[in-house]
């Protein structure tokens, strides 16, 4: 039983046609532990379903074990699971923690297409202002699934 129904599959397929370059969804879960975290297996199934709907070779999924794969966990600075890093020509630091359902499903789809274009779509004024930031900044946006 797929998570995405026929209607949504059609929408996802259409949205992913707008991808300009390849994107990798780097998924962190617990593969080795029988007690997989709540929502981990569903999140993994979701990203795999999305990737299957992309034009050939455009969207790929890479699955890592949060506990066993220390190198990847450190590389992507992931500190909780389920986690998805949306990575394109470079890693723009975009992370989803928890299952991207409801409105956040649209956020994930938008992010995939945006990352594939390597263009944020932000205004020139925003880009100029942000270019002045000379230190790491951590932005967390808390949301709920509804």
């Amino acid at each position: 039983m797929p998570l995405l129904n026929d209607k949504i599959q059609i929408e996802v397929r259409k949205a992913l046609q707008n991808m300009a370059g390849p994107v990798k969804l780097v998924m962190f879960t617990q593969i080795s532990n029988a007690l997989e975290c709540e929502m981990c297996s569903e999140t993994k199934a979701l990203v795999e379903e999305i990737a299957a709907l992309s034009p050939a070779g455009r969207l790929s999924v890479e699955v890592h074990d949060f506990l066993d794969d220390q190198a990847a966990t450190e590389q992507y600075k992931v500190d909780k699971i389920p986690a998805i890093a949306v990575v394109g020509a470079q890693d723009y630091g975009i992370r989803f923690y928890g299952i991207p359902s409801g409105y956040e499903f649209s956020s994930l789809m938008d992010d995939i297409v945006t990352v594939s274009k390597a263009e944020s779509g932000l205004s020139a004024a925003t880009k100029a202002a942000v270019a002045k930031i000379d230190r790491p900044v951590h932005i967390q946006v808390y949301v709920t699934p509804t």
Binding site: K80, P100, S123, I133, I139, Y142
Partner: protein, 49 residues
């Protein structure tokens, strides 16, 4: 993006009572969805806290 109900300890830590709630560098908070220039304004405070 952090799903608040899956990470209640973080929702509690950052006092997430309404969503979206944006937390910048642990200290700056923005309640609700705000226009891009307003978000940038808040973001620039990290340079001159």
């Amino acid at each position: 993006m952090v799903e608040a109900t899956e990470f209640p300890h973080l929702a509690n830590k950052y006092q997430v009572y309404g969503v979206p709630r944006t937390v910048i560098n642990e200290t700056l908070h923005i309640e609700g969805a705000v226009p891009e220039p307003m978000l940038v304004n808040e973001l620039m405070k990290v340079l001159d806290p």
